[in-house]
Amino acid sequence: MDAMNLHLMLPEIYLVLLGLVILIADLYLAPEKRFNLGWWTAGGLSVLAVWLFATPTPETVEFAGFGLYRADGFALFMKKVFALTGILVAVMSTGYLKRYGRGPGEFFSLVIFALTGMFMVASVNDFMSLFVSLELVTLCLFILAAYRRHDKLSGEAGIKYIIVGAMAAGLMLFGMAFIYGATGEVRFTYMGADGQLVLLSQTVANLESGWQMTALFGFTVLLVGLGFKVAAVPFHVWVPDVYQGAPTPVTAFLSVGSKAAGFILIIRVITLVVPTIAPGADLALVDQLVKLFALIAGLTLFYGNLAAIPQKNLKRLMGFSSIGHAGYLLLGIVAVLAMKAAGEETMNGVSAIAFYLFAYVFTNMAMFIGMVIFTQGSEDSHAIDDYAGLGKRAPLLALCMTIALLSLAGVPPLAGFFGKFYLISSIVEAARLDGYGWLLVLAAAGAVNVVISMYYYLCVVKRMYMLEPTSDEPIHLPPPAKIAMVACIVLVVVIGIFQGPFVQMATGVLATLGF
C-alpha cells in the first residue's frame, strides 16, 4: 500500500511518453508528413491494446502511488475499452484532419493525454486522484471540442463545454469536501491502524446519523459533477450543443471515452464509498441514493429518447441518443445500489455496464466513422435528410451504419441488444428484493424506451434505403476508415452471437471490485 509501485503504472507512463513523442515529432516532421502522426498514434495505441489484452486479469488488488492508484480487474477492463476507443478515434481523425489541414501534432497528443487521464480515472483510489484525473480528461476535451476554432459552432461548443464543465467540477469538489468533512478521509481504501485494509464505505457505515446526512449531501452534489460527465438529466444540457459543434471524431471520443470515464467513477464511488447495509442496520443513506439514481435514470431514459425524435441533424441526434444510453447504463447503477441497500454484494449491474460499454464502443464508433466517411471530413452535411438514398450511393457504408443503428436501438442478435438485456435483467433481479418491487417500473421504462429509440434510429435507416438520393456524387471510402468500420460491425455481430467470452470478460471484473 505504502509504496510507489511504478511498474503498475507502466501503461500510463507509456501513454505520456507516446504523447510527448508525437508532440516533439510534430516539430521535426515536414508539414505534409505531419498528418501521418495519426498512424503513429494508432500504432502506438495498438501496441498498448495488445499489451493490455495480453495481461491476465489480476486476482487481487494492487496499489501504487502510495495508495492513490489501484490496479484491479475493472481498471484493466476499462483500460482495454479506452485503448480501443483511442485507436478508432486516431484512425478516423487522420483523414478528417488532412481535410481540415491544421495542427495534427497537438490534436493527437491531446487525444493521448485525454486517454492518459481516462486510464488514471480507471485506477483512482482517492478523491484527489479522482478529481485530478478527471480534470485532465476534461481539459483536453475542452480544447479538442473547440479544435475547429474558425468554425463558429465548434468555438461555441468549446465555450459552453468549458463553462458548464467548470461549474460541474466546482460542484464535484464541493461534494467531495462534504464527504471528507463527514469521514475525515479522502482515500477509498487505506491501511487502518491495525494494519488491515479499510474501505471508506466502512467508515461511512459507522457514521452517526447527522454526519450521514452530511455524507448524503456530499454524495448528491458529487453526483451532479459526475452526472455532467455521463450526461444524466438534468446535467446533460451541454451535450447536444457540444456534440453538434465539436469536430466529429471528438464527438465520438466524447460519447464513448468521456462517458465511460464518468461511469467508472460512479461505480468506484458506489462500490468503495457507499456502504453495503448489514442486515438489520438502519442506514437510510443508501436507500435514498437508490431512489435518487432511479429518478435520474428514468428521466435520462425518457428525455434522451423523446428529445431525439424531432432532431434533424444526425450529430445532434447522436447526442440525444447518447443521453438515452446513459439512462440505460444508470439502470445498472441503480441495480447495484439496490443490492447494497438490501445488504447483498451482488454486482451484476457492474458487469452489465462493463459489457454494455464494451459493445457500445464498437457500435458507436462504427456509426461515427460512417459519419466521417459520409461527410468526407467536412462538417457541412450532417442533416439527416442528406443521408437519403445512401443505400444506392454507397451500399457498404449504408449497411454498416444500418447495423450500427440497429445495435444502438437494441435489435437482437446484435451486441447492443444483449447490453440492454443484461442491464434490464440486473434491474429485474434487484426488483426481487424486499421493498424494491417498484424497480420493475424502471425495467419497464427501459423496455418502452427501446421502442421509442427504435423509431428515430429507423427513421435514419428509412432515409438511407427508402428515399431517392439527392445527389449522385460518389462517396469515397478511404481504406483505413473502411476497414476500421467493417471491423467494428463484425465485432458488433460477433459479440451479439458469441457472447460467451465477452460476458466472461465482463463478469471477470467483479472479483476484485469491492476491496
Binding site: 465555450i159 459552453k160 463553462i163 458548464v164 461549474m167 460541474a168 460542484l171 446526512m213 448524503l216 449531501f217 448528491t220 452534489v221 453526483l223 451532479v224 455532467f228 438529466v233 438534468p234 446535467f235 444540457v237 451541454w238 447536444p240 450543443d241 437510510a284 435514498q288 441514493l289 431512489k291 435518487l292 429518478l295 435520474i296 425518457f302 428525455y303 423523446l306 428529445a307 431525439a308 425524435i309 424531432p310 432532431q311 421509442i452 423509431y455
Partner: protein, 668 residues
C-alpha cells in the same frame, strides 16, 4: 449385434439422408449426378441397414427389449415446475425397425424410380435434396424416443411435405395445395401439442420427477395397473381427452376425416412424391404413432371408440368418392385415404397389430400403384383414365405390376392385401356396424380399382399420343415392389398358414406392443378386450366374406367397364342426387371454404376494425403523437443559452437535495 452397434446403425440410418440433403444444397447443386448419387445412396444405405437390423431383431426373437440411446438436447432446470429435459435419440425396437425398413425399402425403390421420372427436370438437385430431407424427417419420427422428438420431426415432415407438394412452384395449384396441406396439418399438430402437454403435466402432477415425454417412462406408467389407476383417477375425463388430442395429430398426418381434405390436393406434387409420402410413409406416420403409443390409447376407451369411428367414416367416405374420380392419381389418393381409415379403424378396435401389418403391406402395393400410375402418366401425358385405354398391349411391365397391385389392394387371396385386410376385419368383428362398413369398403375398393384397370389398361386406346413402355430404371422398381405385393403378405399370415409357423410377423408385433421390458423380465399385458394373442388360423367366415365381396366388386366393375354389359351413364342417372353429392366430395371443401370466407373473414374484419380504430388510432398513433409532442417540448428546453443551462443544472441539484437530503429530514 450388441446394443451399441444397433444404436450406431440406427443413427447412421437416421442421419445419412440429412447429411446428403445438406451436401446437395450447399455444394453439389450444379452436378446432377453427384446429387442423385448422394440422395439415392443415403436412402439405399438406410434401407440395407434397416433390413440388417430387421434380421438381427428376428434372430433375437420376439420381445427383445428396446435399445435406447439419447442425448440431452435442451434443458430447463430448477424452473417453477421442476426440471424439464428434452432428449433427442433413437429407440430401436421391432416397431421402429419395421417402419424404418418400410421407409428404407419402399423409399429406395421410389428414389431409383425418381431417377427416371425426374429426368430432364430443371430442379433435379433441389428435388433430391428435399426428398432426402423428407426421408430424414420420416426416420426421425420412426426412431423418436419421446413425444417432443416425435413432434419436432412431425413438423419437419410437414415442412418437407409442403416443399415437395409445391415442388412445381410455377403452378399456382401446386403452391396452393402445398399451403393447404401445411395448414390442415397445423390444425392436427396443434391438437397434438395440447395433448402432449396435457399428458406431461398430468404425469408431473402425479409422479413428480418422471420424464413425462419419454415413451419408455410413459409406457411403464400406463402398463402398470397401480400407477395407471393412480394417473387415471387424477386425470379423470382428461385422460380420454389427452389421448384423443394426441390422436388429432395423427388425424392431420394420416388425413382422417375431417382433416382429410389436403391429401387429394397433394397429388399436385411429382408422382414419386405422391408414392413415397402421400401413399406409403408420411401418411402412415399417424398410424405408426398410434401403434407406438398404444399403451396410451389402449386404456382410454372413449378415445378408442372415437378413433375407430373416425377411421371407419374416413374409409367409407373416401372409398365412395374414389368410385367417381377420373384422374388416376386422384383415384389412388382417395383409395389411400380409405385404406388409412381402415388402419385407424383397426387401431381403434384394439387391433394395432393388424393396423401396423396393413400399413406395411399397403406401403408396398400403394407405392407400386402410384409409380405404375406415374409410368402411365409419363407415357400418355394425361391423368385422365378416359384418355387412356388399351395400355396392356403397349406397356406390358407396367400393366402386370399395376394389376398385381390392384389385386393386392382389393384383397384377393393370397396377395399381400388379403392377409392384412383379413386381420383388420377380424379385429373389427366385435363392433358390428364398423365390421359391415369394413366389408362395404372392401367391395368398393375392388370396384373402383377394377374400374380404373379396365378403363385404363383394356379396351381401345382413346388418347392421341403414342404411349410406350417406360425405361428400365422405372419399371424394375415396379417389379420389385410387385413381388412384395404378391408374396409379402405371407409373413403376417395366421400361424397355420404362415411359412414361419408360430414366428410370423404378428407374433413379433403382438409382443412388441403387449410387453414391457423390466430389465430382463418380460411382463405381458392383458389388453382391455383380451386381444393379446395371435390368430392361430384364419377366421373362415371373415376370410370367405372378405374374398367374396372383393371378387364381386371386381366382377361388377368388369360388367360396367370391361364388357360394358351395364352402362355407367345409366347408373349415374339412377343414383342422381347421391352421385352429385359424392362427386362433389360431400361438399366438405365447400363447407371449409364457407367457414374461412364467411366466418373467419367476418371475425377478421371485426378484429381489423378494432385494430384500425382502437389499437392504431388510440394506442399507437396516440402514443406516438404524444411521444413526438414530448420530444418537441424537450427540444425547446435546449435553448442554446448557457445561462439557461447553468440554471437547469443548479435547479436540478436544488431539487434533488430537497427531495432526497433535506426532504428526508422533513418527511422522516
Amino acid at each position: 449385434m450388441d446394443d451399441n452397434t444397433v444404436a450406431t446403425l440406427a443413427y447412421v440410418i437416421l442421419f445419412a439422408p440429412v447429411v446428403a440433403a445438406i451436401l446437395i444444397t450447399l455444394f453439389t447443386r450444379k452436378s446432377k449426378g453427384i446429387s442423385a448419387f448422394l440422395s439415392v445412396g443415403s436412402v439405399v444405405t438406410g434401407g440395407i441397414l434397416s433390413v440388417i437390423l430387421l434380421f438381427d431383431q428376428l434372430a433375437k426373437g420376439p420381445g427383445t427389449p428396446p435399445v435406447i440411446s439419447q442425448f440431452e438436447w435442451a434443458a430447463a432446470r430448477d424452473s417453477a415446475i421442476g426440471d424439464i429435459v428434452l432428449n433427442i435419440g433413437v429407440q430401436v425396437d421391432f416397431i421402429s425397425i419395421l417402419m424404418s425398413t418400410i421407409v428404407g425399402v419402399v423409399g429406395s425403390c421410389i428414389f431409383v424410380y425418381a431417377l427416371g421420372y425426374m429426368k430432364g427436370d430443371e430442379g433435379w438437385s433441389r428435388f433430391f435434396a428435399k426428398f432426402a430431407f423428407f426421408a430424414f424427417s420420416m426416420l426421425g419420427i420412426t426412431y423418436a424416443t419421446n413425444f417432443v422428438q416425435i413432434f419436432i420431426f412431425w413438423e419437419l415432415v410437414g415442412v418437407s411435405s409442403y416443399l415437395l407438394i409445391g415442388y412445381f412452384y410455377q403452378k399456382p395449384s401446386a403452391t396452393d395445395a402445398g399451403k393447404k396441406a401445411f395448414m390442415t396439418n397445423r390444425i392436427g399438430d396443434f391438437g397434438m401439442t395440447l395433448g402432449i402437454l396435457l399428458l406431461f403435466f398430468a404425469v408431473r402432477d402425479v409422479f413428480g420427477a418422471v420424464d413425462g415425454f419419454s415413451f419408455v417412462e410413459l409406457q411403464r406408467i400406463f402398463t402398470d395397473e397401480a400407477s395407471r389407476t393412480l394417473l387415471f383417477d387424477a386425470m379423470g375425463w382428461k385422460a380420454g381427452l389427452g389421448a384423443f388430442l394426441i390422436f388429432v395429430g395423427a388425424m392431420g398426418k394420416s388425413a382422417q376425416f375431417p382433416l382429410h381434405v389436403w391429401l387429394p390436393d397433394a397429388m399436385e406434387g411429382p408422382t414419386p412424391v405422391s408414392a413415397l409420402m402421400h401413399a406409403a410413409t408420411m401418411v402412415a406416420a399417424g398410424v405408426y404413432m398410434i401403434v407406438r403409443c398404444y399403451w396410451l390409447f389402449a386404456w382410454a376407451e372413449s378415445a378408442m371408440i372415437a378413433i375407430a369411428w373416425i377411421g371407419g367414416i374416413t374409409a367409407l367416405m373416401a372409398a365412395t368418392i374414389a368410385v367417381v374420380q377420373n384422374d388416376i392419381k386422384k383415384i389412388l389418393a382417395y383409395s389411400t385415404l380409405s385404406q388409412l381409415g381402415y388402419m385407424v379403424m383397426a387401431c381403434g378396435m384394439w387391433g394395432a397389430g393388424a393396423g401396423m401389418f396393413h400399413l406395411a403391406t399397403h406401403a408396398f402395393f400403394k407405392a407400386l400403384l402410384f409409380m405404375g400410375a406415374g409410368s402411365v402418366i409419363h407415357a400418355c401425358h394425361t391423368n385422365d383414365i378416359w384418355e387412356m385405354g388399351g395400355l396392356a398391349k403397349k406397356m406390358k411391365h407396367t400393366t402386370w405390376t399395376f394389376i398385381a397391385g390392384t389385386l393386392a389392394l382389393a384383397g384377393i387371396f393370397p396377395l399381400a392385401g388379403f392377409w392384412s385386410k383379413d386381420e383388420i376385419l377380424s379385429a373389427s368383428h366385435h363392433i358390428a356396424p364398423l365390421y359391415w362398413i369394413g366389408v362395404g369398403v372392401a367391395f368398393l375398393t375392388a370396384f373402383y380399382m377394377g374400374r380404373c384397370v379396365f378403363t385404363a389398361f383394356f379396351g381401345k386406346y382413346r388418347g392421341d399420343g403414342h404411349p410406350h413402355e417406360s425405361p428400365a430404371v422405372m419399371w424394375v422398381p415396379l417389379a420389385i415392389l410387385a413381388i412384395f405385393a404378391i408374396f409379402g403378405g405371407w409373413v403376417g399370415a395366421p400361424a397355420d398358414l404362415n411359412p414361419f409357423g408360430e414366428h410370423g410377423l404378428q407374433s413379433y408385433l403382438l409382443v412388441a406392443y403387449t410387453t414391457v421390458a423390466e430389465g430382463a423380465h418380460q411382463q405381458v399385458i392383458n389388453w382391455p378386450t383380451g386381444q393379446g394373442h395371435m390368430a392361430k388360423s384364419l377366421h373362415m367366415n371373415v376370410a370367405v366374406i372378405g374374398t367374396l365381396v372383393a371378387v364381386a366388386g371386381l366382377f361388377v366393375s368388369y360388367l360396367f367397364y370391361g364388357s360394358r354389359k351395364f352402362s355407367a351413364e345409366k347408373a349415374k342417372k339412377m343414383f342422381g342426387p347421391i352421385y352429385t353429392l359424392v362427386s362433389n366430395k360431400y361438399y366438405i371443401d365447400e363447407f371449409y371454404l364457407f367457414l374461412v370466407k364467411k366466418v373467419q373473414q367476418g371475425f377478421a374484419n371485426l378484429c381489423s376494425i378494432v385494430e384500425q380504430h382502437i389499437i392504431i388510432g388510440i394506442f399507437v398513433n396516440g402514443l406516438a403523437g404524444g411521444a413526438r409532442e414530448a420530444g418537441d417540448k424537450f427540444r425547446k428546453m435546449q435553448t442554446g443559452r448557457v445561462n439557461t443551462y447553468v440554471t437547469m443544472i443548479l435547479g436540478g441539484l436544488t431539487l434533488l437535495v430537497f427531495l432526497f437530503v433535506v426532504g428526508k429530514e422533513f418527511w422522516g
